[in-house]
């Protein structure tokens, strides 16, 4: 059961990454650091203002949307390709990590909230509220994103622009505005992921890196730009990890996702 919920978190973290990589050809490694920034901000605001953590989204999400806009503006202006964007966002990750550490120190922080403490009883199982919410949010957002891409005009325009940019432009698609919007959206997703990280996990700056591998694996396995695929892959990976942990020692869990990632990259390099 825990596997399912961890999968939800993977999907939340990967959603922004999958979108920008699939539709904008930018690999935004900083998505993870952003999510953690969001997590820390949630912690700070919820603790300082003594409000329900979920309410902090009201402030954080728009702010992150703007951050996303600014980032994409930079990518467009400097015409960064995929590999360069990977390196640049690695640099950004380092900067963000340092920022986080400077403000909140390297000490572990734990957001105290009713969500972490409550468990619901679903049939014979006890389910942590925080984890359940994370999964529900993931399911909701991925479904919404998928549906938006599939059926809305803007979503179709985004897909068209990714397949043949100039032709989409020839029929009226303002690619620049679209790119900015998608980037802003991705960062907003990172903010949401941050909320649930704060609810369910202890925060430390070094934690940023521990998610990178798994989420990348999920994004690639689920195919770039495919929200539902991401969700499925995330759940699958999280489930395999849980299984591995149950069968062998917990330490072996990461092996699953990375081996899968390597295999997929070798067998289907045309993402």
């Amino acid at each position: 059961m825990a596997g399912l919920f961890t999968g939800g978190l993977y999907a939340l973290l990967g959603l922004g990454l999958s979108l920008t990589w699939g539709l904008l050809r930018v690999i935004n490694l900083a998505n993870f650091a952003l999510a953690f920034l969001g997590a820390y901000l949630t912690y700070q605001l919820a603790t300082a203002a003594a409000v329900d953590p979920i309410l902090t989204l009201i402030v954080i999400v728009p702010g992150f949307f703007l951050i996303g806009l600014a980032l994409e503006e930079g990518f467009l202006r400097f015409k960064l390709d995929e590999l360069t964007s990977l390196i640049v966002t690695f640099g950004l990750t380092v900067i963000l990590e340092s920022l986080i550490q400077w403000i909140w120190t390297a000490d572990f922080r734990r957001l105290e909230s009713p969500y972490a403490r409550t468990s619901l009883k679903l049939g014979p199982l006890f389910v942590g509220l925080g984890g359940l919410l994370a999964f529900l949010a993931a399911a909701l957002l991925t479904l919404a994103t998928w549906a938006w891409l599939r059926w809305s005009y803007l979503g179709k325009a985004a897909r068209a622009a990714a397949q043949d940019g100039p032709m989409a432009g020839a029929f009226g698609v303002n690619r620049r505005r679209l790119a900015l919007m998608l980037a802003g959206l991705s960062s907003a997703y990172a903010a949401v992921a941050g909320l649930f990280i704060a609810l369910n996990h202890t925060l430390a700056p070094s934690q940023i890196y521990s998610w990178i591998g798994v989420v990348f694996a999920a994004v690639i396995i689920g195919r770039l730009g495919n929200a539902l695929g991401l969700l499925a892959a995330s759940v699958f990976i999280a489930g395999s990890e849980a299984l591995t942990m149950a069968v062998t020692a917990p330490g072996w869990a990461p092996l699953v996702s990375f081996t899968l990632l390597i295999v997929i990259l070798l067998l289907r390099p045309e993402l």
Partner: protein, 592 residues
């Protein structure tokens, strides 16, 4: 890569190494030795990373994996098996190299894994290895203590020994980088970075070159890993397999310049010095942020790093090539000396058997039959024009003959030998070369090196011979004044001539020209036609695809017309163009 500087860098390196080796004798405060150790440490890591990733363009994010392999090899050998520390070092290097070779052998076979995918894959390898280390007896969790392992003391304290070992590792890595940079191997790696497919077609053994470069890079990483294990004396998985290590190495190489042998070392010195001067308390954290910011600034604004900026400065200082706007092709023709130096292909007498024979060649793409059974002959020493309306299959035919596409059926006989199933990179060695409609030069190699590369790998020559042959070919095409320029600085006609020189440098018997005249002004076209004739005078057979009819009528001895994937006419140009079938193919029924 220009011709090397006057002073030999090798001696400079040796002198520097000796000088640095003497530093401990100065009995300075321990801080200096530690600082220098760190500098050597990072020089080794950054330079070794650069050997594959910088030179060949395959950015690995997994350097930490091989570093870690070396760390844990030494840790395990010295503690569990009581192997003497010094002996464990080559083992550390070898284990890392072996690991790297196995991975490379698999990954480099897959064509699609380049660029960012290679980066991700190598990143994944780091995580896999760290998991394995964490969960097996290699580490198991608590880390490995090495304090009890004896370190031989030659010049004083163990710290000094480690200092010298690190210095040795740094020296080895920089020396290797320099040696490779000046070798055939290095030139091949640079070509791979610019355009791997073209490099392969020219005969560069891409798989082998990449594999050995990667193995060497891993060896050095493992070596410094083993040394470092003893330096820290307490090894943990988290610290060893840290992704940040790989990023730091990349950043130093990028800052210093990935395309030069001393770039990564330069970057390592700069960053380590900066880091040291910014340590202490609060600023330690911000200093990481600063480094991140530097990385971003460098990648965006200085794609060639500090070294690249320096190189550009020096090139501008050099006198601009005489007559920067010399019209190319104005030279009357090859001088006697160039003919003497370049082996002339013996023009075959009107041979009975054709040089190239295509027999019923078929090729289809997704339902579209591009070639529906093409049969034609090319006679030695002729200039054959290949024409036809758009979509008739001309380019496909060129691509099929040069090995870029596989035929579905039929034979391609080069001097009687069927080359239909031969790989593209072997075809260069068999005497066939081609140019591209849009010139594909190696844009970071000098004009001379572009041609020299083809001579070296197509003709099996060494670097020096390759270079002098390159100059001869540049003279033949009138480009010798631009030998040290970069292809991006040439105009279109010059780039096409460069393409031609490169195609000729492998001494082909047959050269395929794909729309060489497209985009040229009438004056430039005259130059180009003149060059094609000179090529034939040397004895090379020419097949050229062209649309510009005036040129075809002017240049071709014989003409073959394709339409709908088949040959519909062939013969003397003017006669063929009056053939009713040909007229109908171009203009439609009403005109025949």
């Amino acid at each position: 890569m220009n011709s090397g500087p006057r002073l030999s860098p090798t001696w400079g390196l040796v002198v520097a190494a000796l000088a640095l080796a003497a530093v401990p004798a100065l009995k300075l405060p321990a801080f200096y030795e530690s600082f220098l150790y760190l500098v050597f440490f990072w020089i080794s890591l950054a330079t070794s990373w650069n050997i594959l990733s910088g030179y060949a363009g395959y950015f690995s994010f997994g350097h930490a994996a091989f570093f870690g392999a070396g760390v844990y090899t030494t840790a395990t050998f010295t503690t569990a098996f009581n192997v003497p520390f010094l002996l464990s070092l080559p083992a550390a290097g070898l284990v890392a190299a072996l690991l790297g070779s196995v991975i490379a052998a698999v990954v480099f076979r897959v064509r699609g894994v380049r660029g960012e995918l290679f980066g991700l894959l190598t990143l994944a390898v780091t995580f896999v290895l760290s998991t394995i280390a964490l969960n097996t007896r290699l580490d198991g969790g608590p880390g490995v203590f090495l304090a009890a392992v004896p370190v031989p003391t030659v010049f004083g304290t163990p710290a000094t020994t480690l200092y010298h070992l690190a210095l040795a590792a740094a020296f080895v890595s920089v020396f290797a980088a320099l040696a490779i940079y000046r070798s055939r191997w290095g030139m091949g790696l640079f070509a791979i970075r610019d355009d791997e497919d073209v490099a392969e077609v020219l005969g560069v053994p891409t798989f082998r070159y990449k594999l050995v470069a990667f193995a060497l890079s891993c060896f050095i990483a493992g070596l410094i890993g083993g040394i470092h294990a003893m330096f820290v004396t307490y090894v943990t998985v988290a610290e060893t397999f840290a992704v940040g290590l790989a990023v730091d190495a990349i950043m130093m190489a990028a800052l210093g310049g990935t395309r030069v042998w001393y770039g990564p070392a330069l970057g390592a010195v700069i960053i380590t010095t900066l880091t040291q001067s910014l340590t202490g308390g609060e600023s330690a954290v911000l200093n990481r942020a600063l480094i991140g910011a530097i990385l971003i600034a460098v990648i965006v604004f200085l794609p060639n790093g500090v070294a690249g900026g320096l190189q550009r400065r020096f090139r501008r200082a050099a006198p601009a090539s005489a007559g920067a706007r010399t019209s190319v092709g104005a030279t009357a023709g090859p001088t006697a000396s160039t003919i003497a130096r370049v082996t002339v292909a013996t023009p075959a007498p009107a041979a009975a058997a054709p040089l190239l024979g295509c027999v019923e060649i078929k090729k289809a793409f997704r339902g579209l039959q591009a070639l529906a059974g093409v049969t034609l002959d090319v006679r030695a020493g002729e200039i054959l024009g290949l024409i036809g309306p758009n979509g008739s299959g001309k380019s496909t035919l060129i691509n099929v003959v040069s090995g870029y596409y596989r035929v579905d059926g039929g034979q391609i006989l080069l001097d009687g030998q069927d080359i239909a199933r031969v790989h593209a990179h072997r075809i260069a060695g068999l005497g066939l070369a081609r140019t591209y409609q849009i010139p594909r030069s190696f844009h970071r190699l000098s004009v001379l090196d572009n041609v020299a590369l083809a001579a070296m790998f197509g003709g099996g020559h060494g670097r020096a011979t390759g270079r002098s042959l390159g100059r001869a070919w540049l003279a033949f095409t009138g480009l010798e004044a631009k030998a040290d320029a970069l292809p991006g600085e040439l105009n279109l006609l010059e780039r096409k001539f460069l393409d031609l020189a490169r195609a000729l440098a492998s001494e082909p018997r047959l050269v395929l020209l794909d729309e060489v005249l497209s985009g040229l002004t009438p004056a430039q076209m005259t130059d180009a036609l003149g060059l094609v004739r000179r090529i034939r005078e040397r004895g090379t057979t020419v097949v050229f695809v062209e649309h510009i009819m005036r040129a075809v009528l002017d240049l071709a001895d014989r003409v073959v017309v394709l339409s709908g994937g088949r040959v519909i006419a062939e013969g003397a140009p003017r006669l063929v163009m009056r053939d009713p079938d040909v007229v109908r193919a171009y203009l439609g029924k009403a005109y025949a």
